[in-house]
Symmetry: C2
Subunit: 234 residues, 2 copies
């Protein structure tokens, strides 16, 4: 697949006329990273933005004492580092490849002028930003208003529903990373997996998780927590 074809399949560029795609193909830089490679760090000057072509990228914050909070895990077609498009900005978080990844880089200046010329590109960008904002809203709610078991239940249900309601899931990230995504630590997550297993909600075998009691998991994810119920569930 040539560059223009690849670009045309990216949601952000949906509906762009051929000539604009060709324009984009002239400014794009094709990059490759291996697992663990840092793409940018928090505070780096934002020299452009990126789109994942293949692989998986995590965007994360890290505290002075080393605790990591993953903000996003991005897959094929998803942009990151867009903040660089706004004025004199710095990247607000770190970006690291979680797997071998291929990424397109778009330097700020030529892209910024493209977006100004092209209304449909701007509208696509708005749509993506709204989506992001909504995701972050959910994350804030999750961190502030839900306990860790509930956050895990939410995540498992999300994975299940994303695949049309299947009950057999396979985590595509290590549990360590899942802990960092859910705002907890591996030890805590491990204990909760163990508890859910003991309660017959799920069955785990490494990264494979089978949902045994979807209903109870869903309850856990949405129900108001009364002390009596917690005693029952855990």
């Amino acid at each position: 697949m040539n560059i223009v074809e690849t670009l045309s399949s990216i949601p952000l560029f949906l509906g762009l006329p051929e000539n604009q795609l060709v324009e984009l193909s002239r400014i794009v830089v094709d990059k490759r990273f291996k697992r663990g490679d840092i793409i940018f760090s928090e505070g780096d000057e934002g020299i452009g933005f990126y789109i994942v072509i293949s692989g998986k990228i995590k965007i994360y914050k890290i505290s002075p004492d080393g605790k990591e909070q993953i903000l996003h895990i991005l897959g094929a077609g998803e942009p990151f580092g867009e903040i660089a498009l706004m004025g004199e900005q710095f990247y607000p978080a770190h970006a690291e490849a979680m797997d071998k990844s291929r990424i397109f880089f778009f330097p700020k200046v030529p892209f910024a002028s493209l977006i100004k010329q092209n209304p449909s590109l701007a509208l696509n960008m708005i749509a993506i930003l709204f989506f992001r904002l909504h995701e972050f809203t959910v994350m804030i709610e999750s961190l502030s208003l839900k306990d860790v078991p509930t956050r895990l239940a939410d995540y498992l249900i999300y994975l299940s529903e994303r695949n049309g309601g299947v009950s057999e899931l396979k985590l595509d990230i290590p549990k360590t990373q899942l802990a960092n995504l859910l705002g907890t630590i591996p030890e805590t997550l491990s204990r909760i997996f163990a508890k859910m297993t003991k309660q017959g909600l799920i069955k785990t075998d490494g990264p494979n998780i089978k949902i045994l009691d979807y209903h109870a998991l869903k309850e856990l994810s949405t129900a108001e927590k009364r002390l009596s119920d917690i005693g029952e569930l855990f």
Copy 2:
């Protein structure tokens, strides 16, 4: 001040030609709310978006057992409920007036077509969304990676710096609401104010807070926490 003039002073509409402003003035609805009025609730159909003209609006989530997390407190010139502009969406959070407020409402359909026709409106919207996204990033980091004293220190420093580094602050929201904004509860916040006061970091008198040791507060806000240090500070 007439409507067109008022519209022209709103950041989202910066740079819009006169005729577009007139266009906007035709679709806008001028609304007034008093403290405690609900503007919309989470899950309501998104029929349009709003801009605060005067007063203060909080956007918040609430857990089944009643804990509230404020996502934003919006003042004059700031838009909210923009998510309604995207397809068939529902408001993802609640909006409530914290004071007597005047608000402009823009119905979805006519506004959506305006944004499609007007590139500079789209770019302004992108700028606002980026800003929001950045704010949420900070909030997630705060909730996940910082303890409550640090979050309060951050907030006090933010207030101080927003006013050019003054040391005498006046909270413009009740401490109950501040607790909800910082992701904690009033009791906890109250204890932390008391501790900071005892440590000579601040002095409080109702909503008035004087920063006595800016440096120590800043340290608390940024420093890596080692056990020994915490013992010293609290």
